[in-house]
Subunit: 162 residues, 2 copies
């Protein structure tokens, strides 16, 4: 598996699984019917935002990540990031590899910490993965996410220094 | 003091003190040199975002507020809000009146809670005011804000049900 910066040419490989994850509405607080133009703009943010892909030896895109400042101005030294792994390639460590890469890159870019604002508390695999990578749950916003099957569940705010 | 929905015609009265507050860089995690077009877009968000002004008996704008969903999709039932009071009219209860109004309106609009993501912990007056209005500090993100005089300080995440 190789992780590299994404280019616009990667988008057609990203959009099918990103759309599927967003449409499921279980893990991302995006509108479930987010259209392609809006999704591309959310995933390919302007600099200093960065977008990455994880590809296998054949060049197949397995997953993607993006990072950007969590706040502007006086808060711009804390990064935020998002991760999407093609469900057809889950269980291969793609998210872990993407996150480790994003953390290294954020540190190199001068960020001092990384914060996730909205980790759905029922997304057990993600929560466990981020904790194993050094994130801690600072707080859980009660009933802040309306899960399509589980109703109102909490959103974890997770954080780690860099 | 009257609180009403803002119109584009209010912007010329808002911009001078909003710019002053943002340029000071002590309470808002916006770029300190945010230009007028960008500021207007941040303060007048599209629906369901709302923008308000507090005006006195002469029609002078004393302060302003805006509210919008804190997240999209499954998180859109939690509101976020921002408040700016003209420093020349501070100490008159403008922020308290604006916040009470915004809370009432958010409740009427069907939001279930309100969350502030980035309350600078050294902004004692704001923290005390939000607490007096029923908000609690869910967490303080350590060193998440670079204050121009005080260095790295925390950002409170504050929340209350509606």
């Amino acid at each position: 598996m190789l992780i590299r910066e994404a280019t616009p040419a990667d988008w057609p490989a990203i959009w099918p699984f990103l759309r599927e994850i967003v449409a499921a509405g279980e893990t991302y607080s995006w509108d479930r019917d987010t259209d392609e133009d809006r999704a591309r703009a959310l995933w390919f943010k302007p600099a200093p935002g960065r977008t990455f892909v994880a590809v296998d030896e054949d060049g197949t895109v397995l997953g993607t990540a993006e990072s950007h400042p969590n706040q502007a101005g006086g808060g711009a030294h804390v990064a935020n990031a998002g991760f999407m792994v093609d469900p057809r390639h889950s269980g291969r460590g793609v998210a872990r590899a993407l996150c480790a890469h994003v953390l290294d890159r954020a540190r190199a870019d001068g960020y001092r910490a990384m914060q996730f604002n909205a980790v759905v508390e029922t997304n057990d695999r993600a929560v466990a993965l981020w904790e194993s990578l050094g994130f801690e749950i600072l707080a859980t916003v009660p009933e802040a996410f309306h899960h399509p099957h589980k109703g109102y569940v909490g959103l974890h705010i997770m954080h780690r220094g860099l």
